[in-house]
Symmetry: C2
Subunit: 205 residues, 2 copies
């Protein structure tokens, strides 16, 4: 509330106070992640995000634009580490890519900082086309197509998607719908069983 809202008039020539606006942006994005993760895309409103962040709706629009743009900015925090790890996954030799890909995905889900945006993406992508597009870009274009590029097989893309499907299905049952015993199982036991399956999809016969 004590924020100097840029755009409310006397915007000082030059840039807005840097640390303060960075703090406000972050607070809005935190609130957005919380709302999208909790309610999904459809039921989340810019007004609700603004309220949760303790700012005016106009400020949210000022920083990010439309609801779709707020969504993209909010889930990007999951995209950035995903791209970094993707590169690490791809730079290592292919013969344990299954385990690396599995650990990478569960690493994101088990980390509270990235679990929220992932929940936001999943809860939103199943009911909203804009969010589904973000999911497709995040998972398909940025991650799977690159992994497929490393695989020497005519059906490389389908293989990469079947591998991803195994991981997506576990994430759905463990983190979203929470079916037991998979929701509470030790993550190492799951990795142990699943990494060879992912590897088999990618490089098996």
């Amino acid at each position: 509330m004590t924020d100097t809202a840029p755009g409310t008039g006397g915007r000082r020539r030059g840039r807005p106070p840097r640390t303060e606006s960075a703090g406000t942006r972050e607070r809005i994005l935190d609130a957005a992640r919380e709302e999208f993760a909790e309610r999904g895309y459809e039921k989340t409103s810019v007004r609700g995000i603004a309220k949760a962040a303790g700012v005016d709706s106009a400020l949210v629009h000022h920083y990010f634009g439309t609801k779709e743009q707020v969504f993209e900015a909010a889930v990007e925090v999951a995209l950035v580490p995903a791209l970094k790890v993707r590169d690490a996954v791809l730079e290592a030799p292919l013969d344990d890519v299954g385990e690396r890909m599995t650990r990478f995905l569960f690493g994101l889900w088990e980390n509270p900082a990235t679990r929220k945006p992932l929940l936001a993406i999943v809860r939103s992508a199943v009911t909203n086309e804009a969010a589904a597009t973000v999911f497709r870009r995040l998972v398909a274009s940025q991650l799977l197509r690159r992994i497929a590029g490393e695989i020497d097989a005519p059906d490389a893309e389908l293989r990469a998607e079947l591998a991803a499907a195994q991981l997506v299905g576990i994430a759905m049952m463990r983190y979203v719908i929470k079916i037991e015993p998979i929701a509470s199982a030790d993550i190492e036991r799951i990795v142990e069983r699943v990494a060879p399956v992912v590897q088999g999809h990618l490089t098996g016969p």
Copy 2:
């Protein structure tokens, strides 16, 4: 189902005209499936369902009760064949249970009559607790626990869930989020690759 066997005759006294009410019920359930599949649980209203079915909201409440009860009745159409096929899957020998389970699930998804309620369940279960409960009952209690009961391994339930996760993930990517190439791939190619994986989860080392 303890429904009246058609043609038994003697139950007319005081009941609404049978064909008419059956037609209305079916029309309401069709509309409900359409709405829940399209919008998910949260955004669907009894009023919207009534409107789509061309009846008064009061009639929907009269036949089914609350929105949650309409939801359960609407998705039950997927549950009934699921239970029948589950029994068929379980009566056959275990050494091709992977392929039977895979064909069974894709059979439901590829059939337009059961795809709608499945979409309704998935779209609703990720954002709504009541729908998640239906999903857990449908998938976990009715299907997976029974399959696990046939497997002679200490981690039988986790195995059954990892097998289901492979199929759930493909369903998400193929039918819900529609990522290519898995969305348009020939279903036989997918079965061919996936059935051994499901079998491996269930009965592998």
